[in-house]
Symmetry: C2
Subunit: 396 residues, 2 copies
């Protein structure tokens, strides 16, 4: 007889001892942690998040969600217990708290010395200058007098940036007059000025680096921003000159090495007549990489997990010739699910990700990805679906 | 100024009211529920599992895991509270308990009347006979005398099957003598005899159906079984005649409609000289569909969620010309993660899914998927990786 076992019902659970699974703790529980949670399931990684509230995006979907304050060394130390590595879905954990984790013997990825370059934009600009990486001109501004000197040298408009705490266009002010500058300085926060760059378009390169020095780069993408918020990502960047694409990838891999990044490094770039300039850095999964969930053999979220665990990195090869991602930005209607039916029926091949976040105007609450052979077509599909989810209309 | 907001740290969580998310409850917390949990994250679906133990495969990764007995009407009723629909990762929930759920007003998908055809194989055979679906000959066997009649008519070997409770080859006995038959009857369970089919190979067709009658079918696959356990799945089935593929898909869609299935229906088929015969049915995500996670635009797990929630079904189109899936069957070494490093380094494009289950010999503890343009190549990659994960050697 081929089979001899008597029929039984469901297999008994847990009757053999399970081998220990790797444990990754992510500080922060926004959509980046949420999508990382989904990636962790496949590789059998135990994934924990430190959430600010029990109903946060990633906390909703994680068995291992703890609530605590990411600014508290004590909360971080308690969270780190049992984790093989602690990583981040944002860059707001203070350096003193990061150092406490390291001093207590916990693996922290990226390491605090790397992460500081995403926390202190002035330090980042200085370091990139030392590394001879092309960047816009910059200078610290503490008074209206400093700004007057710069306006003479660089001409208007003048960009002021908060040294720390900014993201999604927050903490960036394009000033067209001294009155604008005075308004920014009145916030009483540390700022610096940057030369206004009349760029052709914005690009981004996303690379991963593991502690052993293994690196992998995704194809260079074009990002379409509006009011400082990413609206669309096109992969690969349409019509990008081969040499520029190579340069961008080489730059991303070099920066990851020189800044000693572990995990992902996203480099936001300006494409200008004179070449590429670095705009911003992030050391975590990044909006410019959401397209990789379906559009690359290995998603950025899995890649980050592999990197911080020092597992071999996965293939960043694209799964289709053209991929477009469009963010769903909250509008007036708080009910995304009520509109999902139409979107899924209208285009059965479009990929929707919803973040489980309350809808607020302008807030990133989901994204849509379309894949195909023609960039104009996939871009149209993704943006129409994203617009409908947000507004209930496909019209711009 | 483009941006006027003062820089803030992380966005406050939950300060706006979140719209209600759809809630799906899945009874059972094995790997099928685990992979469904990952799919639920993307569509913003709240996913709950009823687990037999807190450390079960899906319970490890689900925020909404409850422990209870799937045979208990009371446990099921308590679990169903707040769920928009209750569905299943196995077919072992007794009919009386299913009926209690329905009587209490809960949506159950698939409905009990459909699910019975996966619970009672004799009822399934009779129903398929009524529907004039080609199947092997079958007859109830209660005594050695019954079997003697059949052996005269059908010749040896004779297949005996348990009417209920079997899966993965359990509850199937290929008998080559009256002594074998007597051994099976000695178990004291309800059995029936089936004509032994000298098939060319085994195929499977996977379809989804929503309550509104919308259907979608994945390409027909070949399954490679050993000792009644699925080892490999090849998509699409290599060299399958176009007409047979069409017939199989039409059969799957027709059966889903005629049996009033809601959710997935997997139809296991024998390809014979005379055409296709139906072997088994399942109404849940199925091992023959694991390749769809990366190999189809919509995975079977997402498709099941869409179907049971009556959302439009997603595109079942393949993402690559050839996809091969190989199961990781437990061997002696309980530590899969210790071998993951080699597998990921050897083939950065291979996709690994680990189920978080304790390793026991022969138990399904994970699977590997490879995608590409050449079936022999992707099959080799998937099987070598799966073998290494199980045994620490790439040799068969």
């Amino acid at each position: 007889m081929k089979q001899q076992s008597a029929p039984t019902a469901v297999e008994p659970a847990g009757s053999a001892e399970a081998a220990r699974q790797p444990v990754v703790g992510m500080v922060g529980a926004g959509q980046l942690a949420r999508m990382t949670a989904a990636a962790a399931i496949g590789l059998g990684i135990e994934f924990r998040v430190l959430a600010a509230a029990a109903d946060e995006s990633a906390a909703q979907v994680s068995a291992g969600a703890e609530v605590g304050d990411y600014r508290s060394g004590d909360d971080l130390l308690a969270f780190a217990i049992g984790c093989d590595v602690v990583t981040f879905d944002h860059e707001h954990v203070p350096q003193h708290a990061l150092r406490e984790l390291v001093d207590a013997g916990h693996a922290v990825a990226p390491p605090p010395a790397a992460l500081q370059f995403t926390q202190d934009k002035l330090a980042m600009r200085k370091r990139l200058g030392d590394l001879r990486v092309p960047c816009p001109g910059f200078q610290r501004v503490t008074s209206l007098g400093d700004a007057e000197d710069l306006a003479d040298r660089w001409d208007w408009p003048l960009v002021l940036k908060a040294v720390s705490g900014g993201y999604d266009g927050r903490g960036v002010w394009v000033c067209r007059s001294y009155a604008d500058i005075a308004d920014v300085l009145a916030h009483g926060i540390e700022v610096f000025a940057e030369e206004y760059v009349a760029f052709e378009r914005e690009l981004a390169v996303l690379v991963a680096r593991s502690p052993s020095g293994h690196g992998a780069a995704y194809p260079v993408v074009q990002t379409v921003q509006q009011d400082g918020i990413c609206r669309e990502v096109l992969a690969p960047a349409p019509g990008l000159a081969g040499q520029l694409a190579k340069d961008a990838i080489a730059l991303g891999l070099r920066l990851a090495r020189d800044l000693d990044v572990v995990g992902l490094l996203a480099v936001e770039l300006f494409e200008t007549q004179g070449g590429l300039l670095v705009n911003e850095l992030a050391m975590r999964p990044h909006n410019s990489g959401h397209w990789t969930i379906e559009g690359a053999r290995t998603s950025q979220f899995e890649q980050h997990l592999r990197a911080v665990l020092n597992l071999p990195l996965g293939s960043p090869t694209m799964t289709a010739p053209c991929v477009a991602m469009a963010n769903v930005l909250g509008a007036d209607d708080p009910d995304l699910h009520g509109k999902l039916n139409h979107v899924l029926a209208a285009d059965p091949a479009v990929r929707v990700q919803l973040y489980g976040k309350p809808v607020r105007p302008g807030r990133k609450v989901g994204h849509v990805t379309a894949l195909g052979d023609d960039m104009a077509e996939v871009r149209d599909r993704a943006t129409r679906a994203a617009r409908y989810l947000a507004t209930g209309s496909e019209e711009a």
